[in-house]
Symmetry: C2
């Protein structure tokens, strides 16, 4: 059976779903690999490098030619139309945002796996592309902030006096938030972090950051929007106070499948020191910062707000390496004797299978 790696369909996407190293893995499992010419361009993987790993270069999108098509962004409706009954696609596919595409996949009896739907179980870790890409996003958020900050992050003691370390506030301590904390700490910043999940406290502290706590008993593990008005009021007060004291704020609070919670208001930004920088990693899902807009820099007084857009794509070599390995690991879970035949009774595969044999396997809202 043949696995196809296309040029990504969306123009701003610089990652690729397979690299020469994962081509080697797939060929070792008895599969053949088709790579669309130029697929690895932004990830600096040449057609020649794919061929050296044993892949076949093809001029067009592999839909209709390869049995399995792996990509970062989901296929377009046109590409999906070319998929045949029983063909498999693997990508980040958010069904709520792609109704027409889902209809085509169902109609064509395509088996579609979405890495957005992966169950959070131990066996899925090596396949967990949301986490691997969040790692990249958290690191990049700090790079984007540091690049825009007119100040140092580390402390300096010089003959002309001392420069104190920058103060960095990270909102949300999931994978991206923890990586942002770790990166800012590496660079010598004083870091504090907030998360509604009290369980994040030990992880935050283990990275050398201060964990902010509300003086309020709250229900553990429940997202902010689900909390009481008193809780939200206290949270606003705490965040407002800490935002005002920070040189950099990095917000990473996302609620899967829903609009991101607003945590930082324009009034809070106005209390920051001039020259401060805010990076909103949640800008694409509505924003944690009211002033942020995806891919844009917005000045609020003398505070610069950067709304992140597809951060992992800005580091295509390593983001692709992690993603391609996640995809190869998922393929290995469904491949036996050179055939890709997913067992949909498997917890991981069932969890991320969106369409199969003409059926939509998830309820859409």
């Amino acid at each position: 059976m043949r696995v196809g790696i296309p040029v990504e369909a969306r123009p701003a996407e610089r990652r690729v779903a397979g690299l020469p190293e994962t081509v080697t893995t797939l060929i070792g499992a008895g599969l053949a690999v088709d790579v669309q010419a130029g697929a690895g361009r932004h990830a600096h993987a040449s057609d020649a490098a794919y061929r050296a790993a044993g892949a076949n270069t093809i001029p067009d999108h592999p839909a209709g030619q390869s049995d399995v098509v792996v990509s970062v962004q989901p296929p377009t409706v046109e590409q999906a139309t070319a998929l045949r009954e029983g063909d498999i696609t693997i990508s980040f596919l958010q069904p709520n945002a792609e109704r027409e595409l889902v209809d085509v996949l169902v109609a064509n009896k395509v088996t579609a796996f979405s890495l957005d739907l992966l169950p959070r179980v131990t066996r899925a870790q090596s396949v967990d592309a949301l986490s691997s890409q969040a790692l990249v996003a958290g690191y990049r958020a700090v790079v984007e902030a540091v690049n825009r900050l007119p100040k140092f992050l580390p402390m300096f003691t010089t003959a002309a006096g001392t420069i104190p370390p920058a103060k960095v506030l990270v909102l949300g301590a999931g994978v991206a938030g923890l990586q942002a904390i770790a990166t800012a700490r590496r660079l010598g910043a004083v870091v504090e972090a907030y998360d509604v999940r009290a369980a994040a406290r030990d992880e935050v502290r283990s990275l050398g950051a201060r964990f902010l706590e509300l003086d309020l008993e709250t229900q553990q593990g429940v997202y902010a929007e689900a909390q009481s008005e008193t809780f939200l009021e206290r949270q606003r007060e705490l965040i407002a106070e800490r935002v005002a004291a920070s040189d950099v704020v990095i917000s990473t609070a996302a609620i899967p499948g829903r609009k991101a919670p607003v945590l930082v208001t324009t009034d809070m930004l106005k209390a920051m020191a001039p020259g401060s920088v805010v990076v909103d990693l949640a800008a694409e899902s509505g924003g944690n910062v009211t002033a942020s807009s995806p891919g844009e820099e917005t000045w609020v007084g003398e505070v610069l707000v950067y709304g992140a857009r597809n951060m992992p794509s800005s580091m295509p070599v390593h983001a692709s390496r992690l993603y391609a390995r996640n995809v190869a690991n998922l393929l290995m879970m469904m491949t036996k004797d050179g055939r890709v035949e997913p067992d949909l009774t498997d917890e991981v595969l069932a969890g991320c299978c969106l369409t199969h044999a003409g059926e939509l396997r998830r309820e859409l809202p």
Copy 2:
């Protein structure tokens, strides 16, 4: 006596020679301070903040109004023409590049100090603006590289496998080079460094980097251009080999008052892995990298070369803070009882005084 802080004359200059905190210092020494409206704009110091520190806001350039004019870039010829006999200017003034300006300063009997000419003696450390700005440049060089690199700097061990740490090569281990080494090390890179001065070895090693050595006895303390052809040949071989093995190269080798040595050729760049990044801090003084051009990104195959231009200016808050303190310290060396009266028998002041009482105090080539 009055000290004037102008808006910088060159459009790309974002630093400022005085900040509210140094205004306080000057006023404490019995001086008055005039600040041109908007002077601190890029450094996020408002006119109101200067006034709160006791400064007087003026609408125009202070030349002809203040007795002492402090700036980052030298005054323009027009501004210098407005300076009166006995007025003082302090700036980075490279006399070889500013012949017409020097003529005006001599003709007008202005006392001009250049921070480019400061003697490298212990007493001058608190005034050493070349070093304080090189510190900023070295840090920023890493930020510029990391921002353009499609890879992580740190090592990551993830469920999808390990990402090895990036390899960073720093050429030149002066103040900027050492700071680049320190910053890349903070971010988890594996760093190696080269400098013609064997004396740099211990400093490089103390920062956790490997010091590259030629298997050749060389005359210590002599710059590369002054060395033998055999030395240069060995140096080229060593650098070519290490450039090819690096993900990031940061070159910082400058020879005061002369063209920077070419260390990295286009052929060397072609041997680097695709996606590698080179930052040439010496781009403005001729370049350590043949392909670099100041302020430009140049692709050599799949290697991105960034020619730095005025790096300190890209971090105006802290670059200005260090520079303003250097300038205030220099002013304090020449101020007694509220009067700025430089004693030109003082080693530090004599060293950096370029023109005085109608005389040019340096031989120009």
